[in-house]
Amino acid sequence: MSDHIVSSFAEDMQGLRTELFRMGHLVVDQIDSSVKALKSRDDQLANRVRLNDKQVDAINDDIEERVMSILALRHPYAVDLRETIAALKVARELERIGDLAKNCAMRVGVIIKDDKIKGTKKVVKMGKQVSANVAMAMKAYEDRDTDLALDVWFGDEAIDDYCNAVFETVMTGMMADNSNINGCTQMTFFAKNLERMGDHATRIASASHYVVTAESIREKRPKSDRTSTTRYLLEDDDEED
């Protein structure tokens, strides 16, 4: 794509992109770290994740500001307009993912107090999948790769399946031994958080699709997470489809 005639406009857009990619990397790191903290029962690492979230928030604020300034000063049209709006959306999704990662990290402290809580392995596997999906969504955005974006979109089904599996495992554990209900609950929340991160990743993929085609992904998203609706009444959050 050729450069803007006004080079400072091009620089603004590039800066927005760089910040967004930095945020993406940071958020993926946060997911990985929180999962790692769970796996290695490292409370300190979990703590660091909690603290690092401030950084994510800061980048989000920065991106919001950049978008505002581009809209106000550059009056972007067409692809520029779409990219600017998408950047705002993607940053928001990343920020949410960051929040969820922080939330996970906070639960690590409770979970690691009890050795007997089951499902860690499954959650770690799930976490890796989620992290990979987020990274892939960002890659799709970065490369304007609509196919990759669609992969992310459909890849979310696997995460939902993981989530269901974790739920079953942890539930079974709780039924067997109700002394560690607290830890188990935390574990389910951990998994649920990861599942929601996956949802956010699909939205990032959709946004990158929009940048290129001016259309969001229209296909019905595969949905196999039954945890919220079928078996248990857990507190719901702002998930909307």
Partner: protein, 255 residues
């Protein structure tokens, strides 16, 4: 481009100045309803094309127009058609406000006078008042109709020119960058007026300001190097143009 009536239809319209072709075969259909905007870089031929519709190109020495231009199905370049009459039906507003160096009243009354549209003074007064009202200028000038038209502010002058144009009861109003010499407030007023006028007149506007085209037009045609590149609903042109040249132009890239 759906149910609305077609006002102008052009087939392979070419405009040449002293043998040098400035427009290379334009095919377009201008709808009767709403505002059609022509955008494009300077020298792309959009103003030349605008002047095709009222044969103002005839007044430029060495300018030659070929192709078929039909207005309501009638060939406006037919030898039997009188350009003077055509221009009464297709009014034009220019880049720089050009009121006549006469009184405000005479500016508006000039057209009706030469075309004999008013039978007496009272009728003429009525035409002047209604034209000025439609142009949103009546309240500002009703107490000084005898004052010079050139004494008004730029925005007022441009609205006076519009009043002068609509006093002849045209079907179409062509506007050649009408706001380029105006400040933002005058521009805003003018845009509002265009919006208002578009309910009664077919309006074709050439503009350099993409924001303006985006704000006021229903359809936008993008011209580049004497060619019509893209012609679509304005919302499509400004969010998702299909041609990369359009894309580059409206996003401000080197094309």
């Amino acid at each position: 481009m759906s149910q609305s009536k077609i006002k102008f239809s052009c087939r392979d319209v070419r405009v040449a100045y002293s043998g040098k072709e400035a427009l290379h075969g334009i095919d377009i259909e201008i709808e009767d309803q709403g505002v059609t905007a022509f955008i494009g870089p300077s020298g792309c031929g959009k103003s030349s094309f605008l002047r095709v519709f009222n044969r103002m190109n005839d007044t430029i020495p060495g300018c030659k127009v070929t192709g078929i231009v039909k207005m309501d199905g009638e060939d406006i370049y037919a030898p039997t058609l009188d350009p003077v009459l055509l221009r009464a039906r297709v009014g034009m507003v220019f880049q720089k406000p050009n009121p006549f160096p006469k009184s405000i009243y005479d500016n508006v009354a000039y057209g009706p006078r030469i075309h004999g549209l008013a039978a007496n003074k009272a009728e003429l007064d009525e035409i002047v008042e209604s034209s000025l009202t439609k142009a949103g200028l009546w309240d500002e000038v009703k107490d000084r109709l005898k004052d010079g038209g050139t004494g008004l502010s730029g925005g007022q002058q441009q609205r006076l020119v519009i009043a002068r144009t609509i006093a002849v009861s045209p079907e179409v109003i062509l506007m050649d960058e009408p706001a380029s010499a105006l400040d933002p407030i005058a521009t805003a007023k003018l845009e509002e007026l265009i919006d208002e006028l578009s309910k009664k007149f077919c309006i074709v506007i050439v503009t350099h300001s993409m924001a303006q085209a985006a704000r006021i037009s229903d359809r936008t045609a993008f011209f580049h190097m004497g060619n019509l590149i893209e012609y679509d609903q304005t919302s499509n042109i400004f969010t998702n143009p299909t041609d990369s040249r359009t894309q580059d132009y409206i996003t401000g890239r080197i094309g």
